[in-house]
Symmetry: C2
């Protein structure tokens, strides 16, 4: 890579925000899973290795879903051992017990299940009702805990809107959150899978979860930038005490089964804001931009992240 002059914003803290945020990097899994051309395992491993070199501490590595459903991630058995030596957390998705056994066989220490807040998406993504999918996850979470106390994350999709159902009642989301925590999930990731959330909606859900006794320490947020709202929503979540934010290096990815679900929040755009606010992430923005530029070159198209675009053109 060429030397790159990386600008940084002035640091001006704001009141009522956390001192530190943990970025849960999803680019290698959520980002790449929708790529049509299969990215070779060696390239993915190099991507994860470079991401680890930026200071990221949580890098979702892959998914042990059946290869038939996500061919892009069919190389999980090759990829995971290739990065397992890295001194970072490497959570992996496990859709069911079979997936969990595959992950356990490779020594995974953190796993994630993938639930839906709506019946329509549960049907589309899992071919089950919400309750049937929760019943499917229950033994997965129990086995993960029995098998050495793995850390279990529960993803929850469609928390703010659903392409088939439209509005999603906050109470419905709270119910599934509670069920996931009650079955033993350590952490939840509240997903705005189609990017329709706005700040009042984020506040309303976090307030309702607080009212239902869900500790904010166990919540992460996962916003999509489909309508350009991801960072405002993240800022709102931070004001509610959320300290775990999902983001995707370079803004890679989306959701293959949801209409208009393009654009994860770009990690670089997030880090720019957090850096400006004086919120520690431990991430070197220059290295992160360089990593996304490298990955974009491999994929043959520019990163959609505004920060990546601005900083990688700033070579004068």
């Amino acid at each position: 890579m060429n030397a790159m002059e990386v600008g940084l914003p002035a640091t001006v803290p704001a009141e009522g925000l956390p001192a530190r945020v943990r970025v849960h990097e999803v680019g290698a899994r959520d980002g790449l899973q929708n790529e049509k051309a299969v990215v070779p395992a060696q390239v993915k491993a190099e991507f994860i290795r470079r991401l680890a070199g930026t200071g990221l501490t949580t890098i979702e590595a892959t998914s042990f879903v059946h290869p038939k459903w996500v061919p892009q991630l069919a190389d999980a058995e090759e990829l995971f051992p290739a990065v397992a030596d890295l001194p970072v957390d490497l959570p992996v998705l496990v859709p069911n017990e079979r997936g969990l056994e595959r992950a356990l066989a490779l020594g995974a220490r953190r796993v994630a299940v993938f639930a839906s807040a709506t019946e329509s998406f549960a049907k589309a993504n899992l071919n089950r009702t919400v309750d049937e999918s929760l019943a499917m996850f229950e033994p997965v979470v129990a086995r993960a805990k029995d098998a050495g106390g793995l850390h279990v994350r529960g993803y929850l999709s469609m928390c703010f809107g659903d392409p088939w159902e439209g509005d999603v009642p906050v109470g419905q989301v709270v119910r599934v959150c509670r069920a996931l925590l009650d079955m033993g999930c350590d952490e939840l990731s509240l997903g705005d899978t189609i990017g329709v959330a706005t700040p009042g909606h984020v506040s309303a859900l976090l307030t309702a979860l607080d009212g239902a006794g869900v500790p904010v320490e166990r919540l992460g947020v996962h916003f999509h930038d489909t309508y350009g709202q991801a960072l405002s929503n993240t800022l709102t979540a931070l004001r509610h005490g959320v300290r775990t934010v999902d983001a995707s290096a370079g803004g890679l990815g989306g959701c293959p089964f949801a209409k208009s679900a393009t654009g994860n929040l770009a990690t670089e755009d997030l880090v720019w804001m957090l850096r400006g606010l004086g919120i520690d992430t431990g991430i070197d923005l220059g290295r992160l931009v360089a990593t996304s530029v490298w990955m974009a070159a491999h994929l043959g198209r520019p990163s959609p992240s505004r920060t990546v675009r601005a900083l990688s053109h700033q070579e004068s």
Copy 2:
């Protein structure tokens, strides 16, 4: 245009925000002024006419700058009369007394001067020191007031960072704001010309302006999306009571003289957030998206607005 299925976010208000926001639409002037190929006056007039049809009430029409400096806006004498019948406010930029006389001759009722918070940008943009430029604007503002009490807006560039100077002290911005108000400006627009602001910085400046006795009713904000921060910064400004927000339909434009100064905040991304928050703008998002799609077709490239992209692809 084809029928377009326009999605809207769920409306969930948040506390501490204004009930109504006035969008100051800058696409026709700030947006188009950087286009290399001159957009014909009839197309610009049609653009403004369509913008007025969306419910926008303030549409910056053009600039009476010397044609040598901004050839794209050399048609101001043709354009302004072509839209003067519209029942909306049509502010125009006037860089100096000569520009003001041209605007007055055409019956303009709202004008704007364009100042800089930094010496470097004042030099680059106006070939003057900050104080010399203020001295230049003083008779312009006085004449605008004498000539029938025109509404005068004062733009202030580089309020959050400068490509040559880096950080811009808040006190320096406050000083120029005070000077612009003291000479008779009715309203100020605080510009983040290179897009480097983050929410704490926005809070700090608005707090300092409040401390200096500047009424928030007289402030507008003008954020650029260079690093994806414009909407988070806007949300922060709304929390401080700001009720005037500059935005550019489809995200057109930037600044011709500032490095990396790409991307005005897209009006559509702003309206999506405000609509979700239940904040009234009077703007029909579907019509606005259709207008930006129409303009993008004329310019031959897609809109950078995420909302425009999401909604204009949502045809199924």
